[in-house]
């Protein structure tokens, strides 16, 4: 008895030793900075002088007297509203096609996935050139079809759609996740549906979609978080400006400008906390809505 309790204590000690890098890292690089960031968000702070407590001023200014905050929120929401659904449909669509027992699965999977692994700066530079209004390949191709292509990154109305198209090029990671989800759907379910006389669409609606809804759900959550963190592409393409006419002033880009161009560190921290709350809220909404459309097999059994 005594022996086993010493062993347990020994194991607990080992356990804490093993996770100690995380504990130290968590305190030093996450929890501590989080607490300081929260405090700083209520301060006027330029990092050269000590923070000066100003109460809710930063937050009040954000919501009442900051045109660019509203703009950056709008840009980010607009992008998310386009990139998220299109991303889900595209990557799910490709995954479904790949799941038709086509030859060369590995080849196609590789081609579709490769853009997702490439350095953001190089990719952004490439797309800036692709979308060049006069000599970029997109408008030259459109011209062959007799279409006069828009100004893309030089046109406030087309800058975000251009970034959405760019994001679809990198939708391959989602495709791989959906493909794995599709491959795990038991074939008996399809066979049973066929015996009941279900066509292709019915099978998709009643078998595929419910079975992979948890995967879609997870990807939507990660997609929300991801689309609120767009930075590199907008920064590289506009040289950090978010131009033209603030049309690519993404939330995180604005936050970066406040912190490292204007040294409004307290304000940047307040922006970061609002970002966190937005992401948290949207995630909770998706979780709550998930009850209605996400199908968990375990629940039915239970």
């Amino acid at each position: 008895m005594r022996r086993s309790s010493t062993l347990l204590r020994r194991e607990a000690l080992d356990g804490f030793l093993f996770i100690s890098p995380w504990i130290i890292g968590f305190l030093l690089f996450t929890l501590g900075p989080m607490a300081y960031s929260l405090y700083a968000s209520f301060c006027d702070w330029d990092m050269l002088h000590p923070p000066r407590w100003v109460g809710l001023t930063n937050y009040r200014q954000m919501f009442t007297d900051d045109f660019r905050f509203a703009k950056s929120l709008g840009v980010t929401l607009k992008y998310s509203a386009m990139a998220l659904p299109l991303g889900v449909v595209t990557s799910l669509g490709i995954a479904i096609l790949l799941n038709q027992k086509v030859k060369g699965l590995t080849f196609f999977r590789a081609i579709y996935y490769i853009p997702a692994i490439l350095p953001g700066v190089a990719v952004a530079m490439l797309w800036k050139w692709i979308f060049n209004p006069e000599s970029g390949v997109i408008n030259l191709l459109l011209a062959r079809l007799g279409i006069n292509g828009p100004g893309w990154f030089t046109d406030p109305a087309w800058a975000v759609p251009a970034l959405v198209i760019m994001s679809l090029w990198g939708a391959g990671a989602g495709m791989i996740i959906y493909l794995a989800g599709l491959q795990s759907v038991p074939t008996q379910l399809y066979e049973a549906a066929e015996i009941d006389g279900a066509g292709a669409w019915m099978k998709f609606r009643s078998v595929t979609l419910p079975m992979i809804s948890p995967t879609i759900f997870f990807n939507v959550v990660m997609g929300i978080i991801g689309s609120f963190q767009v930075f590199t592409s907008a920064f590289v393409i506009t040289g950090g400006a978010g131009s033209p006419a603030y049309s690519t002033l993404f939330y995180v880009l604005y936050l970066y400008q406040k912190a490292f161009n204007y040294f409004a560190m307290g304000y940047a921290c307040a922006l970061a906390w609002v970002l966190f709350l937005i992401i948290l809220t949207l995630t909770l909404i998706v979780f709550w809505s998930g009850k209605h459309w996400v199908y968990y097999e375990a629940e039915r059994k239970g």
């Binding site: 890098p21 995380w22 390949v137 794995a180 948890p214 912190a259």
Partner: protein
């Protein structure tokens, strides 16, 4: 009979679906390839071919003719197709051309022809033949334009140090969570997962202040040291999942033989988890190789730039030399393409594990 019919119609349906899928997949793959082809094609063009109004996939080079020790560019007349040598450019868009004839000009001539005429720029076109300007790569990757080897070294130092740190610390922590019992294990692990939800921007400013205060600004340390403290919740999660799949009896057997937790970690569990460790290593490599915001914030000196940061700076300085930008971008992408080619399995595996959590 009925079942046979059903099976036959199903087979036919599947064959049609597969054919349609194939066509769409090939079209999609072609669309995915367009940017790559455009990038490489651009990187091999010369400046005169960049800002054209017509679509040109194949790089061309101007044809020149050597006359004694002088090289002349060849132009063709738009009206009658004659070839001629450009002798000099005059003001107001005029050019002095020495006409040769309608046959393709030879590489060398003994003397400049006598049939000299002054024409307007619009009346002639530069005579070009398919050919790649490989020297763009040399120009793009050598100082003072782009100190490729230096930036490569910087990127490798950061990437490899962070990779070692992540693999080491995350596997230790994951082992603790997966194989050892200790108080508050569950709640602590939930904290690990919760940090995955936290946007990095929340801690960005205080971390910057912290690293500036300890004198780490303009060093690689802010980009590497945190990696040694299991700061990636995703990697801890991924490794823990994998470790949990290894039978616990193996630990117990080793313990009875007197093995310590450390020995179990590196003699029993780690050797069984090579695939998971490889996945973490690859994702860590990719994240740090591609990182932009970190180097942008912490590295001030040009000598410390990483490839991504240097590429951004290069764009600022050479915004019109698109052919050089595309050459540099191609080279910066190349290592990841090679890595993907040799380790595709681990990339796919990592993505799949990241997605099945839901």
């Amino acid at each position: 009979m009925r079942a046979g019919e059903l099976a036959r119609s199903r087979r036919r349906q599947e064959a049609i679906a597969r054919a349609v899928a194939y066509v769409i997949l090939v079209a999609g793959a072609a669309a995915i390839m367009v940017p790559f082809v455009w990038m490489v094609s651009t990187s091999l063009k010369d400046k005169d071919q960049l800002f054209t109004r017509e679509l040109q996939w194949i790089p061309t080079l101007p044809v020149t003719v050597q006359v004694t020790d002088q090289e002349y560019n060849v132009y063709t007349s738009l009206s009658d197709g004659r070839y001629g040598l450009l002798l000099e450019r005059l003001p107001a868009g005029k050019m002095r051309i020495a006409w040769l004839g309608k046959e393709r000009p030879p590489e060398t001539l003994a003397r400049v022809p006598d049939d000299v005429e002054t024409v307007l720029e619009e009346q002639v076109a530069q005579y070009r033949r398919p050919g790649a300007r490989w020297s763009n790569y040399r120009e793009a990757l050598t100082p003072p334009n782009f100190r490729f080897l230096l930036y490569l070294r910087n990127t490798l130092i950061i990437t490899i140090a962070a990779l070692v740190g992540q693999v080491l610390s995350c596997s230790l922590v994951a082992f603790g969570f997966a194989r050892l019992r200790f108080p508050a294990r569950g709640p602590l692990f939930i904290m690990v997962l919760a940090t995955m939800m936290l946007p990095a921007q929340v801690t960005m400013v205080p971390l910057f202040k912290l690293f500036v205060t300890v004198g780490w600004y303009d060093t690689f340390l802010p980009l590497t040291v945190p990696a040694f403290f299991a700061t990636s919740g995703f990697f801890v999660f991924l490794l823990r999942q994998y470790f949990m799949g290894i039978p616990l009896e193996m630990d117990e057997a080793a313990r009875i033989d007197g093995a310590s937790s450390w020995q179990i970690y590196h003699r029993v569990v780690l050797p069984q988890a090579r695939a998971a460790v490889a996945t973490v290593a690859i994702f860590s490599f990719m994240a740090h190789w591609n990182d932009f915001l970190g180097p942008l914030i912490y590295l001030g000196s040009p000598e410390l730039r990483t490839l991504s940061l240097a590429l951004y700076a290069f764009q600022g300085e050479h915004s019109v030399d698109i052919q050089l930008l595309m050459a540099a971008a191609t080279v910066v992408m190349l290592p990841l393409l090679v890595l993907f080619a040799v380790a595709q399995r681990y990339f796919i595996q990592g993505v799949v594990i990241s997605g099945v959590k839901g």
